[in-house]
């Protein structure tokens, strides 16, 4: 988790420099998205663990949380 957010911050920093020089802000968005996605990725890893240990209840809850967050991403991008 820690490395995920640090990587996201480094990408954001590189993106800010690129935006300042070339005027393209794509990498900034990628870096910030990497920060936001890190906890969700860790939740996905936990889901995989729960699936391997056959904890159906825990797996259902973790997948529900991931589905809600992904739905919010789609919803906020579409509206």
């Amino acid at each position: 988790m820690r490395y995920g957010v640090i990587a996201g911050l480094i990408i954001t920093l590189a993106g800010i420099v690129i935006k300042y020089v070339l005027g393209d802000g794509t990498l900034v968005m990628v870096g910030l998205l990497a920060v936001v996605v890190t906890p969700i990725a860790s939740l996905a890893a936990i889901s995989a663990d729960l699936a391997s240990s056959k904890d159906k209840h825990g797996l259902a809850l973790s997948l529900l949380a991931i589905a809600i967050i992904l739905a919010s991403i789609v919803l906020s991008l579409s509206r």
Binding site: M1, R2, G4, V5, L9, T12, L13, G15, I16, V28, M29, G31, L32, L33, V35, V36, V37, T38, P39, I40, S42, L43, I46, G58, L61, S62, L64, A65, I68, I69, S72, I73, L75, S76, L77
Partner: protein, 254 residues
Amino acid sequence: MLYLLALFAGALGIGFVSAITGIGGGSLMVPFMVLALGFDVKVAVATSLLCIVVTSCSAASVYLRRGLIDIKSALLLEPATALGAIAGAFITLTLPAKAVKCALGFILLYISGMMLRKALAKNQSRESPSKLLPARKLISVLISFIAGLTSGMFGIGGGVIKVPVLTMILGLPIKVAVATSSFMVGLTAASGGVVYLAKGFTDPVAVLALAAGIMPGATLGARYMRKLDPKVVRIVFSLILLYAAARLLYSALT
């Protein structure tokens, strides 16, 4: 450049105080950005949520390694909390800035009161449920939704609500509750933060400056924790929050 230095210095202080009081930085970060640096309240909320993701992930990765996080409780509460955070973010985006400032003022008043009560309390007895009834689970899910809503609306982590839910309703030991809350706070802030990010409210430069300041600030705070009286720090912190709440309410109502 000066504003970057101000953000970094402020974040150092916020990290320091957060480590000593155990309260996440969001409740100080948003008022600091709005009142001291003149940020738009929605940009401040969006930026604060991203910073909370950074700090929470750093702490949660340590807690995960030590096995302190109660994954089952986190998974029970997180869907409702994430839903609340997303709803909260959409509510804030539709509200006028003055209404958000006013509501934030009241939330800070509440947190300030909680901190002051904790600082002045002599005995902190806690009920520890021996049996987890379904009603307790339902209540904790409902309160978690409210915690998510406040997080998404005001850019705070919501630990101030989650930790009491985990200890008093689900009966977790305080260390496990703090670790579990820290893990959940990252997910909740990410859920709300992604909405603001997609709408273009996040300030990436401010995120970097704040994240760079909060981490060393928290390390310093953890180091000086034994030398400072947490009671005094809590009283000072609650008075700062009280002042911030008064300023926010004044600026919202005039």
